[in-house]
Symmetry: C2
Subunit: 306 residues, 2 copies
């Protein structure tokens, strides 16, 4: 692997940024990596664990002279951060992000991007239920997808360079159109997360009735949900608020189907249930065949063998 950018600035130092830093170092993808986080505590932690070559006390300092600036903050504050750094961006620099929603990020960030700076939104499909500067690890993106969502007029050379960068981080990179991104993610990630949060909330209500039995005997189904429902609250609040339409659309379809299955249970329609479950089982095989999950009991959340 060889150096792709002279200087990379990471704004926000949580799970994704910290994993990016370790993967940049692993691949030798940048000459220097600067970092900034709003909270003093996070900056202190970063300095203590050697996260970033240089941790700056304000965002302006961090982006100064950077060839690539990556916004790794919750989707809801992308616009404010873009406004803050805009005057300090180097001409010819590329600004990117790692937000789970793209339409709203583009709307919030684009207006602040100065002439001569390239904005290339991106979204690495990788994560764990952990958050914060100490949760990152170099292998997080290995064999995972990173979607580039170029906006109108995105410079093709800037896009190509960012692609090489993400490939260097270990990802498989593809480009996707903005609306499609938000819909596909609503199905594969946003709605499932809200559903997991809901189910865990229901169990919590019941826990008060059944003491700690629900937790004690958390069988496979529920335990998996709790892992999903342990993800960063701020990040997910912003995802739902900013990908509102697609998420509500998918949740509407979900409720319809759930009612149909509930009705089958109530009326004792075993055939309908069996057919449905047979169909969903086939989808699992599709995912394994597509290489998005191995058959190993890992759930893609840990370190991936390369």
């Amino acid at each position: 692997m060889s150096q792709i950018y002279d200087r990379v600035a990471l704004i926000g130092l949580g799970l994704i940024a910290s994993s990016m830093f370790w993967a940049i170092k692993r691949g030798g993808l940048a000459g220097e990596v600067t970092g900034y986080a709003r909270s003093q505590e996070t900056r202190d932690t970063a300095r203590r664990i050697g996260l970033c070559d240089r941790v700056c006390d304000n965002a302006a300092q961090a982006v100064e002279g950077a060839d690539l600036v990556v916004l790794c903050v919750p989707v809801g504050v992308m616009g404010a951060v873009a406004a803050e750094i805009a005057p300090h961006l180097k001409p010819g620099a590329t600004v990117s992000d790692v937000g789970s929603v793209k339409r709203s990020v583009v709307e919030a960030v684009s207006p602040h991007i100065p002439e001569g700076v390239h904005f290339v939104p991106a979204h690495p499909l990788a994560g764990t239920e952990h958050s914060g500067p100490e949760s990152g690890f170099a292998e997080l993106f290995d064999n995972r997808w990173c979607l580039l969502v170029p906006v109108e007029g995105s410079d093709t050379r800037a896009v190509a360079k960012l692609r090489a960068f993400w490939e260097g981080l270990g990802s498989n990179v593809e480009e996707m159109e903005i609306e499609r991104h938000d819909l596909v993610l609503a199905v594969t990630s946003h709605a499932p997360h809200l559903i997991a949060y809901t189910m865990v909330g229901v169990a919590d209500d019941l826990r008060r009735v059944t003491d700690s039995e629900v937790i004690k005997y958390s069988a496979a189904g529920f335990r998996d949900f709790t892992r999903i429902a342990a993800s960063d609250p701020t990040m997910w609040r912003d995802v739902f608020l900013t990908n509102r339409e697609a998420t509500l659309e998918i949740l509407g379809r979900f409720t319809e189907e759930l009612f149909a299955l509930q009705r089958a249970i109530r009326t004792g329609d075993g055939e309908m249930l069996h057919d449905y479950f047979t169909r969903t089982r086939a989808i699992r095989r599709g995912i394994i065949e597509a290489g998005q999950d191995t058959d190993a009991p890992d759930f893609g959340r840990g370190k991936v063998k390369t």
Copy 2:
């Protein structure tokens, strides 16, 4: 570990029974293990891979002389199987099962149990999304709960012996009252499974619209759901039909909560969402502290270190 039963008969040779067999051998818990499965193909497979010391061509043969008979068939056929084996049970033998639902199994099986035979229902909280005689492994029950659900008049010595047996298989054993079992499992397992099936079904509908993108980019949330939704269709059909009331009750609560969250998304109530997600995150910690999941990326579905 020492021998607990002279002869154990496993009726039905899927994931649970095959794991029991390997764990019995590992612990030296029985002198001989006989097995029976309804399908010729399953019996052939069992013989080929050495599953059971003796595979019988009918259930009567398998249970003859057995001190412990374990019904490892879908909940919906427990009654029919009990009727079939009843005349061939050895006086003083214990009959148990591994069904995920208990009220309906007790109602279906109890009437067939002859005088002098002990019926002690049980439910090991362990599984994977795989099924069939080749999916078993000796470590499946290690550190997992097995709930004993004694019925009125269950012989205390028979219960104690079955407890020792399940402890020998690697489980932590507790007794639970029948109605409570069905409610707790509806929360921790049955409702989550139905929800996962539903979400995967919704994605499948959409897949036809978005080609294979939903599968290709199955991010963490959805991928975890597909694993749950790949479980055995027959087993789960029977679970929902036989634990109908508790499952529908929990799904009703779930829908209520989901609507409240959808409303918060629609109205942009970020505070409500953030509070909710913070609460569910705490539950995850409770589960890790309760030792029902480690922090390792394994989801409790694989082999557990002992």
